[in-house]
């Protein structure tokens, strides 16, 4: 950025905007919700550094608060050993030095962590002391004496203190703070509310994807022009007591860059601060700014309305300048610029100190009231005296507070160490200073240690589970069927139950698009959609066509379906905006609506089933087939796949999951998707590897490819021999109601029918058992349900209009295993682990695992990190509770009718999540993995910067080592025993919380 000083402003602005893509939320319109790392823009930094930077910039809290970790400590989910190990992980030194009285630094640090870093304000401290819950009074008194003598010298002079604080505050303008922010701190009045209410209607109207009927007449000229046309006619300026603004808007230049430059120059004469200032400005309404920028970067998405980030920034800067100068005028009596404001408070340190102390909080009541009174009086325009009387008192208070804070910390520490008053009395000044220094932890370090310990605890459990499982000699019968599922953590449960009831079924996991990136157009879909990870751009299009002979049925189906949808559209839009039709449609639809609502309330599952049946009866059902093979290329997209491409796709999937021989009679490719009612975040529950859509079509296409004779022949040439006695079938697993939809069953040869029937039955049974397992975490589910009860419950759940938690999605996901199923088969993993099949035996060079890591690493990390951030600060990184959400412009949700656009995951999705980074365990030798990390910068970023935790299990010795970015590979030498149970249900029955891994004996026959 520095090198570009001489570029014209427009170019520089474009560069700055480019930079904004790293810090603003990058969430697409909500219809296409795909999980991604919330802090993707910081991924080039090490994890802790990135989180600290994000915290500075956005004000969000990227860690769980210490109190939450202490709860986990109390619940035994973090233990002493975990914390001690975490000190090493974080890189603290001198842990074994003796500090005082035979206590080493390790213990002191542990005590400091457990003591918490909350320093209560004076009033609360008194209350705690009075309640006897804080810390022993005698100890506290002694600590007060001790710290009183060792106290650092704060500036005695209040004027000096004021100058110092004001200087620091001014320094931050353009570096994380805006003028608005400073003024809000000084006056307690935030103009952001006004800015948002002025901006929001214009922004929503401009970005709208299909709510509003009437759009700004000059919308086609961009946001700035549209805003200017409206704002120039807007009477609100006068009503808001901002006369003259309307005139000014009339005379604004047509070029947003000119406006931006003028406003920025007025706000901040120092040009070098502009990029950071614009960044802070954009981050003040992160949701709206992010959506605007997303549309700026994806111009093809909407109906051709131009969206240019410069427009937005120009308007934002204009509002900032006007509203701030108005507030400054009320604050100081004159519309000062920033430099003049700086001089003003330098000349009036007393006033500054009073304002600063008031809005920093923590004052005793009498001082608070006095300060508030003075500040309120200025806004009324009265001449105020008395600043100079109050300021020294506040300074003295601050100083006293500092001393007590020190004492409090010491007292908590000493209490935690278990020292009595006698031991304390023996301490001299030096030891004391030494002790305090040894216990010193920054808040960043504290968070890091807690997180490392929390992750460490679960990691140890997993490692013990893996090593125990490796020692078991497991034998399975020859497979009667092989099932390839998505790597999704939710499918861990399905696979486990399937193997438990049918040990002769072998299961595999792969990214849920099954190596077939494609555009897909279903028979009822108006336009093709991409079914592949977001980072991939497909080059093939597969259409679903009516089967031969059913063209006329298809035509009728299309006609009837269109009629039905048109009437539905008419009903919902007409009752909203038609003058005459509205009341008539309302009258016609009222009673059916009331009846439907009553039915949906009493029997949601029945209504959903019946509705589906009625729709099908009305539309007619059409047998379909795939337009799979083709050669025509149009606009760089091939209709269908060529034979060569088909062979490639099938071969690469089979090789990647390690299924190249020993084919069972039936190979089922099982995609997944979810469905729920009344849920704007619908696609967040779908398959992440299919861009938040259903993965069934990919499964269907892959199975169809693998069944083609041409493909099989070519595959045999590549060493993958699929015998004639093997048939591929495809289906889609509904993760919400645990149902399975099978594809193209009519085309399965008769020879496979009995095998197929058996597989159908077993899969359905596994799904029901899976539903039982899911019910244990759902409060409204029956406790200890039978499989059928559970299935009925989840079916009712996804059909329920009122259900804010149709399923729990990826909540509690924590790890990913890349390796043979033998690694994890027979382990209860509580649906917390992504399972990706990979055969290290056939991959000495590590090429296959490299491509798996490249594809699955970002997807898994994206899911885990999005859940992590939405959990630790649901207000800032997540989107809060669903219950007040209000769908806006068809692209996002607001809270109520006026708020910032909310991005991230709703609270209902992450409520039971345990925020930790994904632990990826690969069944491959450490040196092979090291070589891959070195080769691939993308992986280096993820692993080397600690965005995921990485470990290896050696394919032959089963030794586990874990990768530490600082210290390299660390062999794991832990040991432990695992509880052993017959079946999953024995382990989870009656449990509602998170469960540790266990060994399942019944899974091995």
């Amino acid at each position: 950025m520095q090198a570009s000083e001489n570029l014209p402003l427009r170019q520089r602005l474009l560069q700055w905007i480019e930079h904004l893509t790293h810090v603003l939320p990058a969430q697409a319109p909500i219809r296409d919700f795909v999980h991604h790392n919330t802090l993707h823009g910081f991924q080039h930094l090490p994890f802790a550094e990135a989180l600290a930077a994000a915290q500075r910039l956005t004000g969000a809290r990227p860690w769980w608060p210490a109190s939450r970790f202490l709860e986990e400590w109390a619940a035994g989910r973090i233990e002493r050993a975990d914390v001690l190990a975490a000190f090493d992980d974080v890189g603290l030194t001198g842990l074994d030095d003796e500090i005082a009285g035979g206590v080493v630094r390790r213990d002191v640090l542990l005590a400091a962590l457990l003591a918490g870093d909350e320093v209560p304000v004076t009033a609360r401290r008194r209350w705690l002391a009075g309640e006897g819950t804080g810390t022993d009074l005698g100890i506290f008194a002694r600590c007060c004496q001790l710290t009183a003598t060792t106290k650092e010298n704060a500036p005695d002079d209040w004027q000096q203190l004021a100058h110092q604080r004001w200087g620091a505050l001014c320094q931050e303008v353009g570096a994380g703070r805006t003028l608005r922010n400073v003024l809000a701190h000084l006056s307690g009045e935030d103009v952001l509310e006004t800015v948002r209410s002025i901006l929001q209607r214009h922004l929503a109207a401009h970005l709208d994807l299909g709510m509003a009927a009437w759009r700004n007449p000059v919308q086609g000229r961009g946001f700035y022009a549209a805003w200017k046309a409206c704002a120039g006619l807007d009477l609100a300026w006068e009503l808001d007591e901002l006369p003259g603004v309307r005139d000014e808007i009339h005379h604004l230049a047509d070029d947003p860059v000119v406006v931006l430059e003028t406003e920025l120059r007025t706000l901040l004469p120092d040009e070098s601060l502009w990029p950071a200032y614009l960044e802070s400005l954009a981050l003040e309404l992160p949701g709206w700014s992010g959506m605007f920028l997303w549309r700026d970067r994806h111009p093809a998405v909407a109906d051709g309305v131009p969206v240019d980030m410069l427009d937005y920034l120009a308007v934002r800067a204009f509002l900032e300048r006007h509203l701030c100068s108005e507030l400054i005028r009320r604050l100081t009596g004159a519309p000062l610029g920033f430099d003049e404001l700086r001089a003003y408070y330098q000349a009036n340190p007393a006033e500054f100190l009073v304002r600063d102390s008031l809005h920093s909080g923590g004052l005793p009541e009498d001082l608070q009231a006095a300060a508030a009174g003075l500040c309120a009086a200025t806004l009324d325009g009265h001449e105020v005296r008395g600043w100079a009387v109050l300021a020294p008192k506040l300074a003295a208070q601050a100083q006293a507070d500092d001393a007590l804070t020190q004492a409090w910390r010491l007292a908590r520490l000493v209490t935690q160490l278990g020292w009595g008053e006698a031991a304390l009395a023996a301490l001299d000044g030096d030891t004391l200073a030494h002790l305090l220094a040894a216990a010193e932890l920054t808040s960043l370090q504290r968070s890091q240690i807690w997180l490392a310990a929390y992750e460490g605890h679960y990691r140890e459990q997993l490692f013990v589970a893996l090593s125990c499982n490796a020692q078991r000699r497991q034998q399975w019968p020859a497979p009667s069927a092989q099932v390839v599922m998505c790597m999704d953590d939710r499918e861990e449960g399905t696979r486990r139950h399937l193997e438990e009831i049918a040990p002769d079924i072998e299961t595999f996991g792969a990214a849920g698009f099954f190596g077939v990136p494609m555009y897909w157009q279903g028979i009822d879909e108006a336009a093709p959609v991409a079914l592949c990870p977001v980072v991939v751009t497909p080059t093939n299009l597969v259409r679903e066509l009516p089967a031969a002979g059913s063209e006329s049925a298809q035509a009728q189906h299309m006609r009837r379906r269109e009629t039905r949808l048109r009437w539905r559209e008419r009903l919902y839009q007409g009752t909203r905006r038609e003058v005459l039709g509205g009341p008539l449609l309302t009258a016609a639809a009222a009673l059916p609506a009331l009846a439907t609502l009553t039915a949906a309330t009493l029997a949601p599952a029945w209504l959903a089933r019946a509705g589906r049946r009625w729709r099908e009866q009305f539309d007619g059902r059409v047998a379909s087939t795939l337009a799979l093979t083709g050669a025509d290329v149009e606009n760089g997209i091939r209709a269908g796949f060529s034979d060569g491409e088909q062979v490639d796709r099938v071969a690469s999937l089979l090789r990647s999951i390690g299924l190249t021989d020993g084919f069972a009679p039936l190979v089922l490719i099982l995609g997944h998707g979810s469905g729920s009612r009344n849920n704007p975040h619908l696609s967040a529950y779908d398959c992440g590897a299919c861009s938040g859509r259903h993965g069934g079509p990919n499964a269907r296409v892959l199975a169809a490819m693998a069944n083609r004779l041409e493909v099989r022949t070519a595959l045999a040439g590549r060493g993958i021999v699929i015998p004639e006695s093997c048939h591929f079938v495809a289906a889609e697993h509904h993760t919400g109601d645990d149902s399975v939809e099978w594809y193209d069953l009519a085309q399965v040869p008769a020879a496979f029918q009995s095998d197929l029937d058996r597989l159908l039955g077993r899969l359905a049974e596994a799904c029901r058992l899976h539903a039982v397992e899911r019910c244990r975490r759902l409060a409204s589910a029956p406790s200890r349900p039978t499989p059928w009860q559970a299935r009925r419950h989840v079916a009712g759940r996804v059909a329920d209009l009122a259900q804010a938690r149709p399923e729990l999605g990826h909540a509690t996901n924590a790890a990913a295993f890349i390796g043979r199923r033998t690694m994890s088969r027979g382990l209860f993993l509580d649906r917390r682990v992504f399972l990706i099949s990979y055969d290290p035996a056939a991959d000495a060079s590590g090429e296959i695992v490299e491509s798996i890591l490249l594809a699955a690493g970002p997807v898994g990390a994206g899911i885990a990190l999005e859940y992590y951030f939405s959990t630790v600060d649901n207000e800032r990184f997540g989107c809060g509770s669903k219950v007040t959400h209000n769908l806006t412009g068809l692209f996002g949700v607001m809270e109520g009718a006026e708020s910032d656009l909310r991005t991230g995951l709703p609270w209902q999705m992450v409520e039971i999540h345990e925020p930790m980074r994904l632990l990826v365990v690969v069944e491959q030798a450490p040196d092979v993995l090291s070589a891959i990390l070195e080769r691939q910068p993308a992986l280096q970023e993820l692993v080397g910067n600690g965005w995921i935790n990485f470990a290896s299990q050696h394919p032959s010795t089963a030794e586990i080592s874990r990768y530490c970015p600082r210290r390299g590979w660390l062999p794991w030498a832990g040991r432990g025993v695992l509880p052993q149970v017959a079946r999953s249900s024995d382990w989870f029955a009656g449990e509602a919380g998170a469960l540790a891994p266990a060994i399942l004996l019944g899974a091995v026959s």
Binding site: R31, E193, R201, A204, A205, M211, A212, A213, W214, N216, P217, A229, C230, D234, L235, A236, L239, D303, D380, A526, L565, R568, E569, Y572, Q573, T575, R576, R577, V579, G582, P583, T586, A587, A593, L594, T596, T598, T601, R677, N678, A779, D800, L801, A802, Q803, A804, K882, V883, T884, H885, N886, L887, G889, L890, M894, E895, G896, A897, S899, E911
Partner: protein, 507 residues
């Protein structure tokens, strides 16, 4: 069976009472600290649901009894209070207007309670929500079934408070609480109208009962004044011009509450009130013309604003108020039956549509058709519609800002004069430099200090000045007299005389 049905009307008072009891019980549980955790939720929800369902079933039974026994009409149950010819009764008016609307409302209420149970699971405000929702259900049944103005007013206020509490459901957000206050204050205007009319009714008619009011032969001028108060109340509650802005700000609560309050039920309360007063309105064509005009203006206003709304809830609320405006038009034209039917059907449909607001993404495919070209190209009208014709800002500028200014002045007056005059504890300072212990602040303090000063002086002057003073001599003299008197009284005869004298006085 049919005979039994006749008596069911006697139980109609349970309809508003049951939800109220549910609210009270849940409130009590929360107060006693029994309202936290998953385990506490089912009881709260079931209480509310049971109350709502019982109300519904009771109303259905009453409806059924109408089949055989005809409309029950006006029933007085209890006299709440009475003074001279004034009577406050618990009475219900069960006729072709109130019963259908109340039954429908009970059904919607029950459905919304059921909906909310899953929707609000584990929300921090779960119990609060159900308390307020039950309160609302009690209030609205009070409004609908009331046989007199007082009971209606009671219900009306309960609905107002419930609405306020649910707009401010997310009380952590300043925007939500601000909007709750805005809605509440706007509705105060309507409540004032209602209270005004009730006062006049008591004064002129001498009764609050609807039949008495309808039969009263008031002069037209009086009647007009009386009805105008009710009309203001109806306009405010149903968000007609100029009160419309409050309802667009009332969408901060959870979706089910938006559905039942602003989509379905509460927004129709004003229409219902006017329908209830139809016998009075019939005499006042000019008031009806006014209603027609306001309804039409509101419809035009909300239609224009509705065209530019970009979020589902706002779009739906403008559409709702549009049709409510049409109901006012119908009332203005005297088509009350049409208005009643429209009210019921509209409430049913909007419940569904509001509850399904989060589904808008999958329910619709295309952008709605644009307005006619002459309108679409009008930049000024577009701006005005986008800014909702500046109504709420006007309200703020014309009403709120001056009120605030006055409040500030009063506060300044208090701080500069009244507080100083009264004085504050702990602020006292010595009134006289030679007596540092006597400290005072404010007029009262100074006055007290003055009095104590005076007493001090008297004490000094009379007693402490020492021996030989006038006071001492007089006191000694008086002492001698008293001693003599005592000696005389101690002799028996005088003692007897004193006792007898006492008896004489007593008898």
């Amino acid at each position: 069976m049919i005979i039994l049905l006749r008596d069911v009307t006697e139980w109609v008072w349970l309809v508003p009472l049951l939800p109220l009891l549910a609210a009270l019980v849940t409130g009590g549980r929360v107060l006693l600290g029994r309202g936290s955790g998953d385990a506490a939720e089912p009881l709260t929800e079931r209480l509310a649901e049971l109350a709502a369902l019982a109300s519904l079933l009771l109303l259905l039974l009453i409806d059924l009894s109408v089949w055989w026994h005809g409309w029950p009409g006006h029933r007085v149950f209890v006299t709440w209070f009475a003074a001279a010819h004034w009577q406050g009764n618990i009475s219900f008016l069960l006729d072709a207007l109130s019963l259908p609307v109340a039954t429908l409302t009970a059904l919607i209420g029950w459905l919304v309670v059921r909906f909310s149970a899953a929707y609000l699971h584990r929300e921090a405000g779960f119990h609060r929500f159900f308390i307020v929702l039950s309160l609302f259900l009690a209030g609205i049944q009070g409004v609908l079934l009331a046989g007199n103005g007082l009971l209606l007013f009671l219900g009306w206020e309960m609905c107002g408070v419930a609405s306020f509490l649910l707009i401010g459901y997310a009380w952590q957000r300043p925007r939500a609480t601000g909007n709750a206050l805005f809605a509440f204050v706007t509705n105060r205007a309507g409540d004032a109208g209602l209270l005004f009319s009730l006062g006049l009714a008591g004064f002129w008619v001498g009764s609050f009962e609807w039949p008495a009011l309808f039969d009263a032969q008031l002069p037209l001028v009086d009647l007009r004044v009386l009805v105008l108060g009710f009309v203001v109340a109806a306009l405010a509650k149903s968000a007609q011009l100029p009160f419309t802005p409050w309802i667009a700000r009332a969408l901060e609560g959870p979706t089910p509450s938006s559905a039942i309050f602003y989509g379905a039920v509460l927004v129709h309360a004003g229409v219902f009130l006017l329908l209830r007063l139809e016998p009075l309105l019939r005499h006042l064509p000019d008031v009806m013309a006014g209603l027609l005009l306001i309804g039409a203006l509101t419809a035009a206003y909300t239609w224009l604003c509705g065209l530019v709304q970009t979020d589902v809830k706002s779009a739906l609320i403008f559409a709702t108020v549009f049709q409510v405006g049409l109901m006012f038009v119908a009332i203005g034209l005297g088509w009350t039956t049409l208005a009643t039917i429209h009210l019921c059907l509209h409430a049913a449909w909007r419940t569904w549509q509001f509850l399904l607001a989060p589904s808008w993404l999958v329910l619709t495919r295309d952008r709605p058709a644009p307005p006619p070209r002459w309108l679409a190209a009008n930049q000024w009208l577009y701006t005005a519609a986008l800014q909702r014709f500046w109504l709420d800002k006007l309200g703020l500028a014309l009403l709120a800002a001056p009120t605030e200014a006055i409040a500030r002045d009063v506060r300044a007056l208090e701080e500069s004069f009244i507080d100083r005059a009264i004085g504050e504890p702990g602020r006292g300072h010595a009134v006289q430099p030679d007596r540092p212990l006597v400290q005072a602040d404010g007029l009262a303090g100074r006055l007290l200090a003055g009095v104590s000063d005076l007493l001090q002086r008297i004490e000094n002057r009379l007693l402490l000045r020492g021996r030989g003073g006038v006071a001492e001599r007089l006191l000694r003299e008086a002492g001698r007299w008293l001693q003599t008197l005592e000696e005389l009284l101690e002799q028996p005869r005088y003692l007897m005389m004193a006792v007898m004298a006492t008896f004489v006085v007593i008898l």
